[in-house]
């Protein structure tokens, strides 16, 4: 496969992947924005894992949080609004050697890009998607978002939002995402752990990260922040230790149970809701194409095309 014929680097192995090496442009986010913490957690995770620098790809669509690729010194792409999932899918499918990270907001993921999220999840493309959900459109200065709660007053709903908001976890579960988790931008360690687990998952792994917009929806997530008097309540996962208390814990492979947990009222639970080892499109396509290739023996591209033309004589 042409794409995997990687040309080895000629210069010596680079310096350790430090925060300094990973830092690019200074973020353009407002002071106090939750996204700073997400960025910091991402740096930390990369530092911890020491992936080859050139193999990391950071992609995004449009929105405040979608500025992410400019702030991370890796190969990156800043795409159009809502279509970052298929862009990242193309990178992932063609280049199994890369680590594909995708960042974006609730508008990008659940509104304009809703259909792509659905199908990226269904096809189980191998990539990690961090959705920084702030319940509001920030870049365009306070319009209702698909996750704005009913009653939220915005410039497009001055008397309060009336539409039922999207429940991101439920949407992801029904779409077929194979790793679905939820975290909070004020919980740095939990963010790092969750992102790391998402990265290690083979398949379409999504982390919804509640990330406050201090400008247009301050205090939106205080209910999930112990420092602001809220409760950061974690999902207790089954340990399979046979103890009676384990009976009560959550089986992350149980889709129905995950759906029920996702139904709890705001702020709900945090942690991993669902994880499944359903094969990825990457693997299934590879399997199919390997089968096709095997039938052709060691024929070259030229010989294969020549044979096709011979049949049309």
């Amino acid at each position: 496969m042409s794409a995997t014929d990687i040309i080895p680097a000629t210069s010596p192995a680079p310096e350790k992947l430090t925060k300094k090496a990973l830092t690019a442009d200074h973020p353009t986010w407002c002071p106090g924005c939750g996204d700073f913490a997400v960025l910091a957690a991402f740096y930390k995770m990369l530092e911890r894992r020491q992936l080859p620098h050139e193999k990391i790809v950071t992609l995004a669509g449009i929105g405040c949080s979608s500025r992410f690729p400019y702030f991370v010194n890796t190969h990156g792409g800043h795409f159009i609004h809502g279509r970052a999932v298929p862009l990242a899918s193309g990178v992932s499918l063609a280049r199994p050697d890369l680590h594909v990270f995708l960042f974006g907001g609730d508008g990008d993921a659940f509104s304009i890009g809703g259909n792509h999220l659905e199908h990226g999840a269904r096809k189980n493309i191998n990539l990690t998607y961090v959705i920084m959900d702030n319940f509001v459109y920030g870049l365009t200065k306070k319009q209702t978002s698909p996750t704005s709660p009913i009653g939220f007053k915005s410039k497009t709903d001055p008397t309060g939002a009336i539409d039922q908001p999207v429940n991101p976890i439920k949407k992801l579960l029904t779409a077929g995402a194979t790793f679905v988790a939820r975290t909070h931008a004020t919980q740095i360690n939990h963010m790092i752990q969750t992102m790391e687990r998402a990265m290690d998952h083979e398949g379409f792994s999504v982390v919804e990260c509640l990330s406050e917009c201090v400008e247009f929806y301050p205090g939106a997530f205080d209910a999930g922040n112990p420092r602001k008097g809220g409760e950061f309540k974690l999902i207790e996962e089954k340990k399979w230790d046979g103890t009676p208390e384990d009976e009560q814990r959550h089986d992350v492979t149980d889709e129905i149970a995950a759906y029920k947990l996702a139904n709890l009222p705001f702020p709900g639970l945090f942690g991993v809701f669902f994880e499944s080892d359903r094969p990825t499109k990457n693997v299934l396509e590879k399997k199919w194409s390997d089968g096709v290739r095997a039938k052709l023996g060691d024929a070259t591209d030229l010989q294969i095309l020549q044979k096709t033309f011979d049949r049309m004589k």
């Binding site: 040309i7 298929p86 193309g90 792509h116």
Partner: protein, 605 residues
């Protein structure tokens, strides 16, 4: 062209007493055979057999078909023009009309040349025998097919019966035809091949001498020592051209008449180590294709007009981020759902200008089935060299037209694609303001540790977003300059006919055949008419003005509307480009390919 019309005396109707021994055999140069029935009758496959046979016999062949947009059923035609010597168009009029139904007869009898032969299914068609212009040959095709196949097959197989009958009438190579039938149905149940052979035999053995006084023989093609002929349709040629051009990745969404390209590529790309993905929608498809291209593997997406409209935003991104991409538009009648199975050349503006902002892109249009193959290779070359989106404007008539052409020299054409993942030296700039962008795909080490971001925001040379007025001016010019550089490298197309004269017919896309046949026929009549066909539509090649200067009139013939100001889409662009009032427009919007007669009338009036 010498036709059966000159060979058959319409005044002497066929008699049932004429035995086969009395049959005359006549030599002809070419014949236009139109099969008219319903889409489920398999007339396309019967026509395709004839086309492929002609290709195998080193005869020239050109086909034309219309398919209804209904799923099954509805009137459908397939027209084959086969013969010796150069066949440029599918022919204005038919020498032979095969009518399966009354509606086929009613709709198409006026396409039959005076003196032509109407071969009709007497089980379904009652022609007006008082009309003495034609030769009437009534055969109970349905009944005979059912009889031959044992009565359980209903009337499936009429197409193959007709094929047998035509093989007899035109003295076609029966063994080769049987071989083609075997190839086509060989993969299926053995009984299907047997049934097809029985239908073929029944048609071939029909005592045609009872109803026809003449059989025909094509003049022998002069033996050539050139390459063998390959026979395929335009969509196939385009798909295989992409493969030869080193394209290995793509994504799309189905739409007529584009779909067969994605069907081919879905199966073919994996053979070459690549992948073609059917996406959830057009926006997802173009985005995934851009993902493939960004990853270092030049990709293709495609559609027809409505789908291209949906892809437009992402194509603007490709222009801004300077990502190579091939976009195929198999044009059909528009706007909106329009005429999904008819031909039109009304997406030229969309290809060149369809986007917000100044978003230069390359637009190419293939002229023939053969040219579909080579245009695809050219598109891949340009996309890579200039890191730019490239449109290929095919159309509904090229998509399904079957032609035979010289087998390409694959050895010299085949591109072996390898993403360049070599380490980039310190100071690498993804967007050099005075150079052509060549991206470092992900996976490439950057010697100075600074990794590039590709972006749709206006940016500086390193890809950082900027709102600087100066930079926006410079970068807009940079994106324009590279296409101006391309324009300088495109060869000026050759003029067909004479270098100067009364009129130059300028065309683009699938109307190459009828335009050239019109010029040829006008020249044979002593008119100094020439023709020029453009493959590169944006940018245009340099130097066209010198060619135009040698003609009194320049007539741009295209299948689109004359617009508010009286000029078709290419004519408008040429007038804007050259400010030359002698550039005129000849347009049409009937959803059908140009007839030679229409062009001649338009040029000579």
């Amino acid at each position: 062209m010498s036709t059966p019309s000159e060979l058959i005396d319409p005044a002497s109707p066929p008699t049932s007493t004429a035995g086969r021994a009395d049959l005359r055999s006549q030599s002809i140069r070419d014949a236009v055979i139109r099969l008219a029935g319903d889409s489920q009758d398999g007339i396309q496959s019967a026509g395709a057999f004839l086309a492929r046979l002609a290709g195998r016999s080193a005869q020239e062949v050109m086909t034309y078909m219309t398919i209804p947009s209904t799923i099954s059923g509805g009137p459908s035609i397939f027209q084959v023009r086969m013969g010796t010597g150069e066949v440029l168009s599918a022919g204005d009029e038919a020498d032979f009309l095969v009518a399966f139904y009354q509606h086929s007869y009613d709709e198409h009898i006026n396409f039959l040349k005076e003196g032509g032969v109407l071969l009709y299914d007497s089980d379904h068609v009652q022609p007006n025998l008082d009309d003495k212009r034609f030769v009437y040959v009534g055969i109970p095709i349905t009944g005979l097919t059912v009889e031959a196949l044992g009565g359980t097959a209903k009337d499936k197989g009429k197409n193959i019966f007709i094929l047998g009958l035509l093989a007899r009438i035109f003295d076609l190579d029966v063994e080769k035809l049987k071989g083609l039938i075997q190839e086509k149905f060989g993969g299926k149940d053995v009984s299907i091949v047997n049934t097809a052979m029985m239908a073929f035999q029944a048609g071939f053995a029909y005592p045609v001498g009872n109803v026809l006084t003449t059989l025909y023989q094509f003049e022998k093609a002069t033996e050539t020592t050139g390459p063998a002929q390959v026979t395929m349709d335009g969509n196939q040629a385009l798909a295989y051209g992409l493969i030869a051009g080193g394209v290995r990745y793509g994504a799309a969404y189905p739409i007529t008449p584009w779909s067969t390209i994605m069907e081919i590529l879905r199966s073919e790309f994996p053979k070459y180590g690549g992948l073609f993905v059917q996406c959830e929608d057009e926006l997802g498809a173009v985005s995934m294709a851009l993902g493939f291209s960004y990853s270092g593997n030049l990709a293709i997406t495609g559609s027809a007009g409505p789908g291209i409209s949906l892809k437009t935003e992402a194509i603007g991104w490709a222009s801004m981020a300077e990502i190579p991409l091939i976009i195929v538009n198999v044009q059909r009648g528009g706007p909106s759902t329009g005429l999904p199975t008819n031909v039109e050349q009304s997406d030229l503006y969309q290809a060149i200008f369809g986007g917000h902002g100044d978003s230069p892109r390359v637009v190419l249009a293939p002229s023939t089935v053969e040219d579909c193959f080579y245009t695809a290779i050219e598109a891949a070359r340009i996309a890579r060299k200039y890191s730019t989106p490239v449109f290929i404007l095919s159309d509904a008539s090229l998509a399904t037209r079957i032609q035979a052409f010289d087998e390409p020299d694959l050895k010299s054409l085949m591109i072996d694609p390898k993403p360049d993942l070599s380490e980039r030296p310190a100071g690498f700039k993804p967007y050099p303001v005075n150079g052509i962008t060549q991206h470092a795909p992900p996976g490439s080490r950057m010697a100075d540790g600074k990794y590039p971001v590709v972006t749709g925001l206006e940016h500086d040379e390193l890809g950082h977003p900027t709102g600087s007025p100066k930079l926006h001016m410079e970068m807009t010019a940079k994106r324009r300059h590279k296409l101006q550089q391309l324009a300088a490298e495109i060869p000026v197309p050759e003029v067909y006919g004479g270098p100067e004269g009364e009129a130059l017919i300028v065309g683009w896309g699938s109307s190459y055949g009828p335009i050239h046949e019109a010029a040829k026929s006008a020249r044979e009549r002593g008119e100094s008419i020439s023709a020029l066909h453009l493959r590169h539509l944006n940018p245009l090649p340099n130097g066209l003005e010198k060619i135009f200067a040698r003609f009194k009139r320049v007539i741009v013939a295209e299948m689109n509307d004359e617009g508010l100001y009286g000029y078709g889409q290419l004519a408008t662009i040429l007038r804007a480009r050259y400010c030359d009032p002698k550039i005129r427009s000849l347009t049409k919007t009937d959803g059908l390919t140009f007839r030679v007669k229409e062009i001649l009338e338009g040029v000579l009036k």
